[in-house]
């Protein structure tokens, strides 16, 4: 086997040193009746070239070369080449969690820089080293608010990503955390009146997303006021990190739970992504996940270590803030490199291009349907309501190698034939024009079918 660095003679010699006759002696502690005396029924050993062929074949069975208008928590942004050059260095790729600080300063310093940049972008005072993803970060942030307030009820915006809501519901089930859902208004934002009626002095947290699932930017200050006057904490989920380039961060929030996938992480059919939690300094001891802090060595030289470990499971066991252990370090490194590449000015320009494309698309596609929630500001996503069924439109688009917006019927049946469209800097004008043309075509078909039906009726 090509990954194993031993010759038969080595094995023999080692067995001899151990004093075992055969390797089976070493497995003697396993009761004989359970030992597997046959080969596993899995694919036979394959050559590297065969493995590559296998995955290329799977790749061809997937969408290759499609123009896509899908977003909804997973965004197609350009990934600078140096991200993969750098994360492919074995010293990053094949290192463990930096417990031994003296030989992990590379990982530790890069996490410290990551934490700093997340703070700068979110307007928070501290950020952790990463969480699994945006959905679990949101759930963990809510649990953190429960610990901080000593209260248990949670009010969740219906304009939060539906799958994030599902994850929170799973986490909350056994922690005695009643959830109530605040619907959205005609603007596609949290209905403030409803929120006001749901939030009480029993509420630990209000969880919203901004830009929300519909791409609409929430009125953070107003929502924060409702939460805070009832003694609840405001938790804001950010799923589209690029928005932070031009959208004011939710500074009035108490905890921000972010998905940083947009920053240089491949779509990868949904993962691995990079969650992260940011908050105020005074809340740091209830924050889950790893944290890197600056310190000095015995000579007074600056260095970095994992810190505040007394929050964590390996010290506190059942009293820990979370059971999280492994996080998304290598993905956080991608995010880190991306933030360095674009930096202070580039992120702004990048976000502007996203906004411009979405504005153009909303206008073009809006000619053949209704763009919902037009009353509120939005970033790079919008909801288009059409006469024809969204799946039918998408089937038509697929034939021209275009993946249309995400049909919302499954999540928001009351919106009818609505789909969530997303544009990024990678979306082209011609792609938008093609999509608009194809929707118009189907619109024509719907119209003629309708006319036909009316004719029959006459």
């Amino acid at each position: 086997m090509r990954y194993l660095p031993k010759s038969p003679a080595d094995r023999k010699e080692m067995l001899k040193a151990i004093g075992a006759r055969s390797v089976d002696d070493l497995f003697a502690p396993i009761p004989a009746e359970y030992r597997l005396n046959r080969d596993l029924k899995i694919p036979r050993q394959m050559a590297e070239s065969e493995i590559i062929d296998f995955f290329r074949q799977r790749s061809r069975e997937n969408a290759e070369g499609y123009a896509s208008f899908l977003g909804a928590g997973a965004y197609a942004h350009y990934r600078p080449v140096i991200i993969d050059s750098l994360i492919s260095r074995g010293e990053f790729l094949t290192a463990y969690t930096p417990y031994q600080a003296e030989i992990s300063q590379g990982t530790l310093q890069s996490i410290f820089e990551f934490q700093t940049m997340i703070c700068e972008l979110t307007g928070m005072e501290v950020a952790n080293a990463s969480m699994y993803d945006g959905s679990t970060a949101a759930a963990e942030a809510v649990m953190m608010a429960v610990r901080l307030t000593g209260k248990r009820s949670v009010v969740v915006a219906r304009s939060l990503h539906p799958e994030y809501r599902e994850v929170l519901a799973t986490y909350a089930t056994h922690q005695g955390m009643p959830l109530s859902i605040a619907n959205f208004s005609a603007e596609g934002r949290v209905n403030h009146g409803e929120l006001e009626s749901l939030v009480s002095d029993q509420t630990a947290a209000v969880l919203i997303q901004s830009p929300n699932f519909f791409g609409t930017i929430e009125d953070i200050a107003a929502i924060a006021e409702i939460a805070h006057k009832n003694g609840a904490l405001l938790v804001v989920s950010i799923a589209e990190a690029v928005s932070l380039g031009i959208v004011e961060p939710p500074r009035e929030a108490d905890i921000i739970a972010m998905e940083a996938q947009s920053f240089g992480v491949p779509l990868g059919f949904g993962g691995p992504y990079c969650g992260v939690i940011a908050t105020r300094e005074k809340f740091v001891r209830q924050m889950p996940g790893r944290l890197v802090g600056q310190t000095v060595d015995r000579q007074g030289k600056r260095g970095f270590v994992l810190t505040l470990a007394t929050r964590e499971q390996h010290i506190r066991r059942e009293k820990a803030t979370s059971n999280i252990c492994t996080n998304q370090a290598l993905v956080a490194l991608m995010v880190n490199i991306f933030m360095n590449v674009y930096g202070k000015v580039g992120l702004q320009e990048l976000a502007k291009q996203n906004l411009a494309k979405a504005v153009y698309a909303a206008q073009k596609l809006g000619n053949h349907g209704k763009v919902l929630f037009a009353g509120a500001p939005r970033f790079n996503e919008f909801v288009l309501q059409t006469e024809e069924d969204s799946y039918a439109i998408n089937n038509r688009l697929l034939g021209r190698k275009v993946i249309g917006g995400l049909p919302l019927k499954k999540f928001y049946p009351e919106l009818g034939n609505a789909a969530l469209w997303c544009c990024t800097e990678l979306t082209t004008r011609s792609g938008i024009d093609t999509a608009a043309g194809l929707i118009a075509e189907s619109e024509g078909i719907v119209r003629s079918a309708k006319e036909e039906a009316e004719e029959v009726a006459r």
């Binding site: 990954y3 009761p31 997937n62 992990s104 059919f269 944290l291 996080n327 674009y342 202070k344």
Partner: protein
């Protein structure tokens, strides 16, 4: 220092500040293509939500970023450099073909919401991997959704709870051996189970009599790591399973040490009802400085109805798809379908090995651990002489007489060119040295390791201060962790804001 260090030599490496210290206005590493749609005015469109400023975000050029991270990388130890014997972490070789196939266009860039009919390749990967893992574990069904081992534990206990609930009573507590990893009790707490400690016997295995006494109908499950954190196979596993099952409890296996079993024995065959796997341990996906991981959960038939949704199915027309209508499901534990990129890598690893390679891998892992055990027995105290599987746990009892503790030996090992073993764990061994070489080490590398450990043991006797002051050869000496925790500095600030 009398000993010559044969594995490593000091050499110059570059100093490097924080990236913020290199930043200055006007430098850039980005260039966007010209905008092909009309420009917009964000201030007008976003109103009060328009952002004015990005604070202290860096402004640097591309070469500076390359040098920055390349320099930082050289300050890390890694498997690619040498043996990384962190017990329980399974630091094995991360094959590069895994990385290559994870980057194939249609695999790396698939959107999780793209229609199923143009996702058959990705779904096929999920299916093939699921089938392999089910066969390897001897279980009946699997979910790939959990993002890491601890997340898998949570999912597994949610399944346990849902199962008992369906039987009319969710039960109150989970039994956890005192040798268990900290995630086990932390997870039980997240699923609202009380944790009851189960003590180990003199051989480092579950005390079966104690289990018998503690087992009752309030116990939902036993969370057992097998082989356990001492690297010892629970020889009474059949009795353990019987005791649980007799009172309606379930056997949860923490699969962190599955690399000791693959191809040799299947947990499903020895009474396990639910278990998680760590693809980043047993199945070679890279640890990446602390993640991403992936923690699939495999179950017996009785738990299948409760698996997180969506569940992968073959549809009547023969294509693959997700089923969302699962009324008994515990719900979602993560958005989308899990850490797909890790599934690709794990499957590539299984294919590169095949049944014969996986078995040989397990045998070599166990052979290596026993070789190290033999080499260091006598030099270091072996608190539990029970046979070792894939790892061996010594204690610092002999060296502690000179004031040298496990962490000191670990730090000195750095000077000898090795990453330390796991220190001070499991908790049932005071001053533990937990050593897991994995199958990826050659005899030569292990001989160097044994030689280094013996040299350090000699130093501990003859010149303990050398060990106590270690490491001597690193960029930074021992760091002040107490100060870091007392007054946390968790981010950089410009001098004007300090």
């Amino acid at each position: 220092m009398k000993n010559t260090i044969t594995k490593a030599t000091r050499h110059v490496n570059q100093n490097e500040g924080l990236i913020f210290e290199k930043s200055s206005p006007g430098k850039a590493a980005w260039k966007l293509p010209p905008l092909d749609v009309p420009e917009v005015d964000p201030a007008k469109l976003l109103g009060a939500s328009a952002r004015k400023d990005l604070g202290n975000m860096p402004e640097v050029s591309e070469i500076e970023i390359i040098r920055h991270f390349t320099r930082l990388s050289t300050w890390n130890y890694a498997i690619d450099l040498g043996m990384y014997p962190l017990g329980s972490c399974t630091m094995k070789y991360n094959p590069r073909v895994n990385e290559a196939v994870a980057r194939v266009e249609g695999i790396a860039n698939g959107h999780p919401y793209q229609p199923e009919k143009i996702s058959q390749g990705a779904l096929g990967i999920l299916k093939t991997l699921s089938e392999c893992l089910i066969e390897i574990t001897g279980m009946d069904a699997i979910t790939l959704q959990p993002a890491a081992g601890a997340h898998g534990e949570m999912t597994g206990l949610l399944l346990v709870r849902a199962y008992h609930h369906s039987k009319g009573r969710p039960r109150k507590k989970v039994l956890i051996p005192d040798s268990a990893h900290g995630t086990n009790p932390a997870t039980a707490a997240m699923v609202d189970y009380a944790v009851e400690n189960l003590k180990s016997d003199s051989r480092g295995m579950v005390d079966v009599a104690a289990l018998e006494a503690q087992m009752n109908e309030d116990v939902a499950a036993l969370m057992l790591t097998n082989p356990n954190t001492l690297g010892v196979f629970e020889q009474q596993i059949h009795k353990i399973a019987d005791i649980l099952h007799a009172k309606g409890g379930l056997l949860y296996m923490d699969g962190a040490n599955m690399n000791a079993l693959v191809g040799k024995v299947r947990p499903g065959d020895f009474g396990v009802d639910v278990m998680h796997l760590n693809l980043h341990k047993t199945f070679s996906t890279p640890h990446g400085g602390g993640g991403p991981g992936s923690g699939p959960v495999a179950v017996k038939k009785i738990l299948e109805p409760f698996l997180p949704k969506p569940v992968l199915i073959t549809k009547p027309d023969g294509t693959l798809g997700f089923e969302y209508d699962r009324p008994q499901s515990v719900g979602r534990v993560r958005a989308f379908y899990g850490n797909f990129g890790m599934f690709v890598r794990a499957l590539a690893y299984i294919q590169a090995n095949g049944p014969d390679g996986l078995r040989q891998t397990t045998e070599d892992a166990v052979l290596n651990a026993n070789y190290i055990r033999k080499g260091l027995e006598g030099t270091y105290d072996l608190p539990y002489p029970t046979p070792s599987m894939h790892e061996v746990v010594f204690s610092d009892r002999l060296q502690a007489k000179k004031g040298v503790r496990t962490m000191d030996i670990a730090k000195r090992l750095i000077d000898y060119g090795f990453h330390p073993y796991t220190t001070a764990f499991p908790l049932i061994v005071p001053g533990a040295l937990m050593i897991e070489p994995t199958e990826s080490e050659s005899k030569e590398e292990m001989d160097l390791f044994i030689e280094a450990m013996k040299a350090i043991a000699a130093e501990a006797q003859e010149e303990p201060q050398t060990v106590l002051d270690a490491p001597h050869s690193t960029r930074v000496s021992r760091l002040d962790e107490t100060a870091a925790a007392r007054k946390p500095i968790l981010r950089w600030k410009p001098s004007s804001e300090k």
